[in-house]
Amino acid sequence: MGSAIWALATAETKLLLRNKTVAVTAILVPLLLGFFMATGIGGSARMWALVLSMQVLFVLAFAVYFTATAAVTSRREDLYLKRLCSAEPHPAVVLAGTLLPAVVLGLLQATAMIAIAVLAGAPVPGNVVLLIVAVVGGAAMCVAAGLATSAYTATSEQAQITTMPFFLALFVGGIWAVNAQDSLPALLVPGGAVADLVRRSLTEGNWFTQVAGALPAIGMLLVWVVIAGLVARRWFRWEPRS
């Protein structure tokens, strides 16, 4: 079924690019926000930690979370998901193919953001593994959250409202975690763990000590992936409510 995932993802990418609202929100918004932050705010190590965290969170929020929610909701609204479910591939393959472009877009944009920040003078991350965990784990959390959100989103217009709470959670958690370093409560908020990992990846020092210090954040990120996944699993719908 590898070819099915690939074909679904290709079709989904075309759809993403052909819908102007989604294309602008997913691609231009995070790039512009990230660019202005990198060129306007940087300076101290602490500020760079904030800039990079927010850049990663912008990408996760707009390119991954919003795109995933909007894509799944609008395909369901169009009864297109139902059609895909009448085809040969397993529904899990259908979902994977539909969500893959959002994840790939997120990973590409995160890479571009970090490159922009480093070119603008940010410190080169000392622990790349933690940065990768932050981006990949964050993307997993955001895809699962997107599925969960689409469960209570009837139309793609509604997605602009129903995505607000998780957006807030991402940014509030992120700012809190960077400002109040080593604050455990900040990690409990979805964006907190991602920001904490990004901040730690920028520090210098013993690799193992860094990873050990990041364990609470990694754990919380996992917890959020699982929670969002369970909500999605319980309430996700393939067809609109009739």
Binding site: S3, A4, W6, A7, L8, T10, A11, K14, L15, R18, N19, R75, D78, L79, Y80, K82, R83, C85, S86, A87, E88, P89, H90
Partner: protein, 322 residues
């Protein structure tokens, strides 16, 4: 039925508190077209979607190729094609992009262009699907459902909303598939469609099968009709096998299981007495008659019993024999 491809017995399906399907059973043999008829809300689509493996039955058993369509999905799906009653497209993909996507999702794809050509969509291949007319979308539906060279094809109201030309094209394609050995389960509320295509059919009403069998069997559940007008003073009609309705003079209707016998008796009687029967008409029951009898609930077969499929078959055969 030996080696049935689709086997349904005692099927029950509920949504919340509402039982949409209440004990449905039938078999479809290889290469056969079985049609499910009934008004909206009779339970046709729910029955269909359960057999397709879209939903689990609340009771009873469904087998396709002897397998459970949900549990054995991975083995059943590659061999079936599904045309849902209501489903949508990604409107921003073109016709060709949609078909190519489908092609890469099926195990045994057929070529795109001939498939589009057969349904008159080839000239629309580079048009976005959202710009297609309703009829064109329905035809694209059929292209996708048949693209994987299915052994079993589910068609849920395939010609609803089609113009007569497209309807004929659809029938032609279904006939070709039947000739090639495809088994088809069809729902429709066009009686003509069932008459033209179906080897056997069932009429559903209120979640149950009211009558089923071959077209002849089903038609035989309603008696044939002889109608004519008698002039005044024509005298008493001869004894007939059927039931005579109407006045001694005026419009007469005979309901009979023995059309030829009674018609002959009436004609012989009229000739003997030199009686002119005006507006004479003799006809077997049409599917329309059976359908309306079922809708009005005055169909003679008791469909309240569960598992009465065999009884109905038996009764219809009796009716044919009689």
């Amino acid at each position: 039925m030996n080696q049935s491809v689709i086997n349904v017995s005692e099927l029950h399906c509920s949504y919340g508190g509402f039982e949409a399907v209440r004990g449905v059973g039938f078999d479809v043999g290889p290469g056969e077209l079985f049609a499910l008829l009934g008004t909206n809300g009779a339970g046709k689509t729910t029955t269909m979607e359960t057999i397709e493996g879209h939903r689990a039955p609340t009771g009873g058993k469904v087998r396709v190729f002897g397998m459970d369509p949900m549990r054995d999905r991975a083995r059943v799906r590659p061999r079936v094609g599904i045309m849902l009653q209501h489903s949508g497209f990604a409107g921003d993909l073109t016709v060709a992009e949609t078909v190519r996507l489908w092609q890469s999702m099926v195990s045994r794809p057929s070529a795109v262009d001939p498939a589009l050509e057969a349904l008159g969509l080839k000239h629309r291949r580079n048009v976005r699907v959202k710009q297609l007319s309703g009829g064109e979308r329905r035809r694209l539906d059929l292209v996708l459902a048949t693209l994987g060279n299915p052994e079993v094809l589910f068609l849920d109201e395939p010609t609803t909303g089609l113009d007569p030309e497209s309807r004929k094209a659809t029938w032609e394609i279904v006939r070709n598939l039947l000739e090639a050995g495809t088994t088809v389960l069809l729902t429709t509320h066009y009686l003509e469609e069932a008459e033209r295509l179906a080897h056997r059919l069932a009429i559903m009403h209120d979640g149950r099968i009211a009558v089923s069998g071959s077209l002849t069997d089903v038609l035989a559940t309603q008696r044939a009709r002889i109608e004519f007008e008698l002039p005044e003073d024509a005298g008493k009609l001869p004894d007939l096998a059927g039931e005579i309705r109407g006045e001694a003079s005026g419009r007469i209707e005979v309901r009979t299981d023995r059309l030829q016998h009674d018609l002959h008796a009436v004609l012989a009687w009229a000739r003997e007495r030199d009686v002119r029967l005006s507006r004479l008409r003799a006809q077997h029951a049409s599917l329309d008659d059976v359908f309306h009898a079922v809708q009005q609930g005055d169909h003679q077969q008791d469909s309240s019993q569960q598992g009465d499929h065999a009884d109905i078959e038996h009764e219809t055969r009796k009716a044919v024999a009689g």
